[in-house]
Symmetry: D2
Subunit: 271 residues, 4 copies
């Protein structure tokens, strides 16, 4: 669909809380030296090359790094949060929500299932089961040849992951792309897409601050695929859907006159 | 599904703004002498008899009539609003939203597409086209034998209606039951269902304070069908989906031991 | 939805191949002395009591037991087949397919994913992964409070089952009710619903001739729930959707005249 | 998604019955001098340029022009038929069906709703209402910014069309892109997509041998968009989904051992 070319790269903003990086500094420094958001951004950049311009934004920045200028020039936003959902300013959430409805793509990662932005787009609790037990996760593709699943094995195998299990209280996805399993027997709808307004939303669960999941090549592949999948239409105008008041009728007197003269209202057709 | 019986009628609460009844008193007195909510409630009661207990609630009441006691004993809530969406208290909206996720059914009627409760459940703008021109609306069933469409003609014909047209900015319905047309050529997805958590939501567009639509027998029939369709499960516990932390694994050592001894991990099966 | 009452019980026909009962007579005699179809029928009858009349039909009977008389008086048909899919007469398949489109409900069980009737309703290969290794299956509910999941634990636990795994090549279900897991890490969309014409189709995977799964109380519960869920509308006419040729227009000259005189086609409304 | 580039154009085969061109020769010669299929092919070629190689195939050719060589080198097939559905050889239909499940895209146009290939992919009657009365059709986009709707007005206006109306007996589309209206008040789900196996199917109703619809620039635009939307994944292997027998388990003893030692099966977690 030619969403981006060398001449018009897709602008990607990778948002991260950047809190665990300080609260669990030692552990995180080993896994994610520049922060999880930096690792995610590098993955996207290295896989997509000059199809994208990637930048990061974090909670601690003014407006959490999501100023009008940044949002208005972002084609796809990725969101990772965990311990700081409450600290995200409601006004910024509202801006991001509006920008999604206007056409910006959104990737929601792991514990961001509980982010304000995801819950406001979904309308459900987004709750789930979880267990922190260094589990193995298998990610199975249930929609073959879906662009988000391009280039990854069936299943993807991730050694070292937090278990997420059903019931995952989300609206029925428009598309279910992945289902994951864990050694305890839990299952989880780990790759789901929805449309909201003109924007495309992709939730992808693998990824936890306690494990090196965002270095995993298949996870990086899925995120890169997801970014391209969620990219706005090349001709996107970024106008949110809005009320249209009192438009004139589109059918005209000439339209009605053209109907074959033999057919009069009330005259029953034959079955 | 036995949602209600003579012994356990379904409790239905019909919520109305009751503002036009005062602002356009003369016009409304002719159409809806006791208020639109009363007409809607009567329609439900007369069609469903002792399968239901019906009461009304209005904006001007304490907590808009939606106290904990009322909500906790409501199986299905219907909502009509238009000029007073802003006046609905956010705390009440949150209670209603939570109760839907816990299993209460919700019917959203006509201009309530812009109600706070509908927009928070949907996550979209819910905007549309409209024209106030005493139009004729035809309501076509696109899901044959759906319980909501039981007992109404194909199409339902409503003389005297406000035009609602696409684009209707909603998430893709779980089920599209009706599509409407108007003389100007406009179309509208006029009967849509979604699940949110354990609750069922039905949006039905025909109905405007300026026309006697809620007296129309087919419109009353659809609303009654919708109420029964949206009723909670007979065994509903009305607990919202919630986080489950650190559950024990469900697979046991015995489970793994039972797998046929000849099959070892790594041994490739034949295609 | 009051689909059946003491006065009008739902007619259920349980179809079985009845081949393994002879080919694996010794093993089957222990598990299913009267045949798998008899066990399934007994489960339905004992859970639903006088809401249903249950009968069985088998491959070896004239027209496989699915004469016009039987089909025309069947509200819900259940189908289990495995080694004899090829032996089902195409003319009978066509009759069953037409009856589903006309409103008869259909439950498709386990290896019947490869039945002619299921493949013709789905349009896909319906292929999957499988392993016969006396596995443990966990069946998780992903649509809370869905009538098909009524009264069963989360998850259902079945000790002794054949593994079915993704990719399950089916159209995206209208509703995904259950996802199963197995000790090898495999997952499977084990409870799926679709509408085809006026009929409702429910595929449920647990159940294999090699294991006593159809005696499992939770499996019996799901099958009984599925039968009631799939029951035709009380007012079903059992006419298949058909072409309507040359109907008269529904909009009349009076409709067009009623549109507010101030609004002329071509006159642009304001946004 | 970069489905095609100058180096690897998408191969498109435009299939037409080529019967009306002879049966209604005079009328068709005015509208479609080289046949409808030629007009459709020219539209695709002129809008997509070197992104595509376009060829045609017709009923009268050996294997209806759909030899193994042609099908194996076709990325997207378009299908228009009307009076000759019965004449299409079942063996060819089966090959086309298999190729769709393997990843070939398929556009189904107008009266091809009754083609063998569409009915076998859908599993429903695909029946509808129709009236041949030189009507005006308005095609409304209900999924904003969908690639298939790129570059066309809201609504598309077609003067001179056959009316198609609901009930259109199809499975619920994966995506509903367009809804059409006609002066008689009829509505129709005129742009629908489904996935079948690895293939993408797009049904688009405007277009009739009696009207110059396939010369309409917006109709040509939608068809071109649909072709690009339906294109197979760049890495498509064109292997149909198939059974996988007795794969080894993917979870290993090491996986189970890694689970945190404090967590034993049966030990209940806290909520």
């Amino acid at each position: 669909m030619g969403k981006s070319t060398q001449d018009h790269p897709l602008n990607v903003t990778v948002w991260g809380e950047n809190l665990h990086e300080f609260h669990d500094a030692e552990h995180m420094a080993a896994l994610y030296p520049q922060g999880m958001h930096a690792t995610i951004a590098e993955g996207i950049g290295s896989l997509l090359g000059d199809q994208v311009n990637v930048r990061t934004a974090t909670l601690d920045q003014p407006e959490h790094g999501l100023t009008d200028e940044v949002l208005d020039s972002t084609g796809v936003l990725t969101w990772w949060g965990h311990m700081g959902h409450d600290r995200v300013d409601d006004a910024v959430v509202r801006k991001v929500h509006d920008r999604v409805l206007a056409g910006m793509g959104l990737l929601v990662l792991h514990s961001a299932h509980f982010s304000k932005i995801f819950k406001s787009l979904m309308g459900t609790t987004c709750s789930l089961e979880w267990r922190d037990s260094n589990d193995t996760e298998l990610v199975w593709t249930v929609k073959p040849d879906h662009p988000i699943a391009d280039g990854v094995p069936h299943p993807i195998r991730i050694e070292g992951q937090e278990m997420y299990g059903e019931l995952f209280d989300i609206p029925e996805p428009d598309e279910l792309v992945f289902i994951s399993s864990f050694t305890g027997g839990e299952v989880f709808r780990s790759g789901c897409t929805w449309r909201r307004g003109k924007g495309k939303v992709f939730y992808f669960s693998p990824g936890d601050q306690g494990y090196p999941v965002y270095h995993h090549p298949d996870v990086q592949r899925v995120i890169a695929n997801g970014v391209m999948w969620a990219a706005p239409s090349p001709r996107a105008t970024f106008e949110r859907p809005d009320v249209v008041s009192q438009p004139a009728p589109r059918f005209t007197a000439e339209d009605f006159a053209r109907v074959a003269p033999g057919m009069q209202a009330g005259q029953e057709g034959h079955r």
